[in-house]
Symmetry: C2
Subunit: 398 residues, 2 copies
C-alpha cells in the first residue's frame, strides 16, 4: 500500500458500500478517505483512519465527498449544431429539418480531428462537473468507415464504447431498412467490433422494430459484443422485453412501460437507465422512476449527451430533475448516478468508494450529497480525482 | 469617452436594445462591444466599430455576449440549513419542523459577521453564474433589531434592498397577527426604512391577508419605500390585485391567477416576476408564463434564493426551467432574466447593453444565448464584467 492522499474531515462520505457505512449509500459522517496507487486504500470514520502517513492531506472542512459520476449513456461523436431546431421546438414553431439526419450529414463531413476535439471538449466538461466514467456511442456516421472512425475516436478517449450503427436507418437506405440492417450486422459490424465493447439498437417506431433489433443484437453477441438497448423512449414497444431476453446490461430511456415490461426488468439483471435530461429538453413525459424502484428494478441515471434531444453533460442537473420529476429521493438519485451507472456498464471498479475501487472521487462545496438536488443549477463540484489524480475543476471553495 | 475594453468577434450579441439590433433582444450577429468608464460606450456590428483604440481587446472567437442577469428576488440574509427538510419533502416523508421558523431561529442566533459571510458567498456564487444585480430582502429576523441588521448587512453588499418584516408573523406574536402588523408598520418600519429602497409583503393564506397587506404597503409608501408583493404563490388571493392597485414594481410568484388578475397586470405597470426554481424545489405547479406574455404582461425571471423553497442563485437554471415548464421561448426567458429583472427593479441602467448602460456583460462559452436553455445544467458563463470590471468566474473556455 502506497497511500498518496488523505482526504480528511469529510462531513459526509458517500461510499455506496454498505459494509463501510449506513444504508445503500454506505454513508459515513465525520469521515476520511485514503487514495493511493490509483485506488481507494481506505474509507471510514475519521477516528479510525489508519496511521500510515499519506504523502498529502486535504482538509475537506466538513464538506461532502461522493464517488465520481458514471454516465452510462452518451452520443459524443458528432459535428454541427442544432440550436435552431431546439429553439423552434421550444417556441412551438414547426421545425421540419431533419433531426438526427442533420447531425449525420455534419458528422460525415467533419474531419476526424474536429470530431475528436468535440469529444475532448464534452469529456472535459463532464469531468469538471464530476463525471469520471463516460460511455460513448457511435451512430452519427451510418456508413462503414464513418461508424468505424467514430468508434476509434471514442475508444481513444473514453472508458466504454458502444457500436450504434442501428441508431436510425442511414438516409441512403430509405425504404430499404432491411438492407441497412444487413449492413449493420455484416460489414459494418466487422469493421466496428474491434473498437467497441457494447452493441446498442434504437428499438423504436421510426427506427428499428423488434425483429430487426433481435437480428442486430444476435449478430453483435455472436461477434463478442454485449447488448444494451434504447427502449421504450417515445412509446410502448418491444425494446425493454428484448433487452431482458438478451440479458442486456441496460434498457435505456424506459419511459413508456407496461406492467409486463416492469415485471421483466424486475425479474432480470437488466438495469433501467433513465435519461431525464432528454425529456427535459423535448418537453416529453418523464419516466416513472418510483414505479421501477418500488418493483425492485435497478435504476441508473445518465445524461444522454447529444446535440438533438439532450445537450448536457451535467449529472448534478440530471439528479435534480430526477428528484423533482421522476420522484426519486435525493439518496436514490445520487446512487443511480454513481453505482447505478456502474451497474449499467457492468463495472465493479467504479461508482463506489469501497477499498480497491478506482479512486474516482468528487469533493462537493456542500455539506451533503443532498445539495446536488437541494441547490439546483449551482455548480457544486469543487474537486475531482480520477484514478487518484486530481483533475481540473472550476468551482472555488467558499 | 475613455474606452477601456473592446470585446470583439462576438458571434451573437444580446443588447436588449431594439435600436441597436433585431427584435426585443436587440440581437446583433458578428458584433463588437466597447466598455469604458464603467458603462457601455458602443455596441453594434463589428464592421462599424469606432476606430478609437481601446486599451484592451478581447477576442470572443464567435461566442455570445449577453447583459448580466438581474435577479430581482432573493432572501440572502439567513443562517442555518434545511437539507433535512428538503430531503424529507422530496422523499414523500412528512416533515413537521417549522419551515421559515427554523431559519428565523437560526438567523437571530447568528452573528452579524456570519450572516454577512453567507450573503457574500451567495452573491459571489451568483456573480460566477452571471448575475450582476441581485435584490436582497430581510424577513428572517422578525424583530426590530434583527430586521434592521439584516437590511444593514444587505445594504452593505447588494444593489437593491427590500424590507420584508411582513414575511410571516413572528413566532412570539402567534395568534396576535394584528399586533405584529402594527409593529411592522411602526417601530420596525422606522428602524428599517433608512436601509431599504423597497417594502414587500408575503400576501398569502398563512402569512398576511389583503387588509394587512394594504396596511403594511400604505405605511411603507408613507415612509418613502416603493412596494413589491409576494402574490398568489400558493393559491388564489388578493396579492396581485393589490400590487397593481399600489403601483408596485412587481408582483412576485404570480402562480395562481384569475383572468381578472391577468387583466390587472396587463393594464398596469406592475411586472410579474416568476420564480420557477421555487416550484421546481417544492414540486409545485408552475406559473403559466405563456398566458401572461400573450396578455401583454411584462414578465421577469428571478431565482428566489432562500434556504427553504429555492436554494439556488443560478439564473441559467431558471431560464432552462422557464423554457421547459413555463413555456417561454428561449428569447423570452433570456430577456426576462435580464431586462425583465431590471424592469421589476425599475432600473434603466442595467439589464441591457445599450450605450450608457452599466457595463454588466456576460461572455458565454457558447455561440448563442439559446444555449442557456439548450444545454441545461452546463456552466456556460465564461467571463463576467460588472461596471466594466472583470469578475472572477470559473469556466475555462473550450
Amino acid at each position: 500500500m502506497s497511500p498518496s492522499l488523505l482526504i480528511d474531515n469529510i462531513g459526509q462520505l458517500v461510499t455506496n458500500d454498505p459494509t463501510v457505512g449506513c444504508g445503500p449509500l454506505g454513508l459515513v459522517e465525520d469521515a476520511a478517505l485514503v487514495l493511493g496507487d490509483g485506488v481507494v486504500q481506505w474509507a471510514g470514520p475519521r477516528h479510525a483512519v489508519p496511521q500510515a502517513a499519506a504523502l498529502e492531506r486535504l482538509d475537506a472542512e466538513g464538506r461532502a465527498v461522493i464517488p465520481g459520476f458514471v454516465d452510462s449513456h452518451g452520443h459524443l461523436v458528432f459535428a454541427g449544431d442544432r440550436t435552431a431546431e431546439f429553439s423552434a421546438r421550444m417556441s412551438g414553431r414547426p421545425y421540419t429539418a431533419g433531426g438526427i439526419a442533420t447531425t449525420v450529414t455534419a458528422t460525415r463531413a467533419a474531419t476526424s480531428n474536429d470530431l475528436g476535439l468535440t469529444v475532448d471538449r464534452l469529456l472535459a466538461e463532464g469531468l469538471r462537473s464530476g463525471t469520471t466514467t463516460m460511455e460513448c456511442k457511435s451512430g452519427y456516421g451510418l456508413t462503414v468507415p464513418d461508424e468505424q472512425r467514430s468508434l476509434r475516436i471514442a475508444a481513444e478517449r473514453t472508458d466504454e464504447v458502444t457500436y450504434l450503427g442501428a441508431h436510425v436507418v442511414a438516409p441512403e437506405y430509405a425504404g430499404r431498412a432491411d438492407e441497412y440492417v444487413d449492413l449493420v450486422c455484416g460489414a459494418m459490424l466487422e469493421a466496428c467490433a474491434p473498437h467497441a465493447r457494447w452493441i446498442d439498437v434504437f428499438c423504436e417506431r421510426g427506427a428499428f422494430d423488434g425483429d430487426q433489433t433481435r437480428q442486430i443484437l444476435r449478430a453483435g453477441v455472436a461477434r463478442g459484443l454485449v447488448p444494451r438497448v434504447h427502449a421504450n423512449q417515445l412509446g410502448h414497444g418491444p425494446g425493454v422485453q428484448l433487452a431482458v431476453e438478451f440479458g442486456a446490461a441496460s434498457a435505456d430511456h424506459a419511459t413508456h412501460l407496461t406492467d409486463e415490461d416492469v415485471a421483466a426488468l424486475a425479474s432480470g439483471t437488466t438495469v433501467a437507465t433513465l435519461l431525464p435530461a432528454a425529456e427535459f429538453s423535448t418537453r416529453a413525459t418523464y419516466p416513472d422512476a418510483r414505479r421501477l424502484l418500488d418493483a425492485g428494478v435497478t435504476v441508473a441515471l445518465a445524461a444522454d449527451c447529444n446535440p438533438g434531444s439532450s445537450y448536457t453533460t451535467n449529472m448534478p442537473f440530471c439528479i435534480a430533475v430526477a428528484v423533482r420529476d421522476l420522484r426519486m429521493t435525493p439518496d436514490e438519485a445520487v446512487w443511480s448516478a454513481t453505482l447505478g451507472g456502474a451497474r449499467a456498464l457492468r463495472r465493479s471498479d467504479v461508482g463506489h468508494l469501497g477499498v480497491g475501487a478506482r479512486a474516482d472521487a468528487v469533493l462537493l462545496d456542500a455539506p451533503s450529497h443532498v445539495h446536488l438536488a437541494y441547490r439546483p443549477g449551482v455548480p457544486l463540484v469543487a474537486a475531482v480525482w480520477r484514478a487518484g489524480v486530481r483533475m481540473p475543476t472550476a468551482v472555488p471553495l467558499s
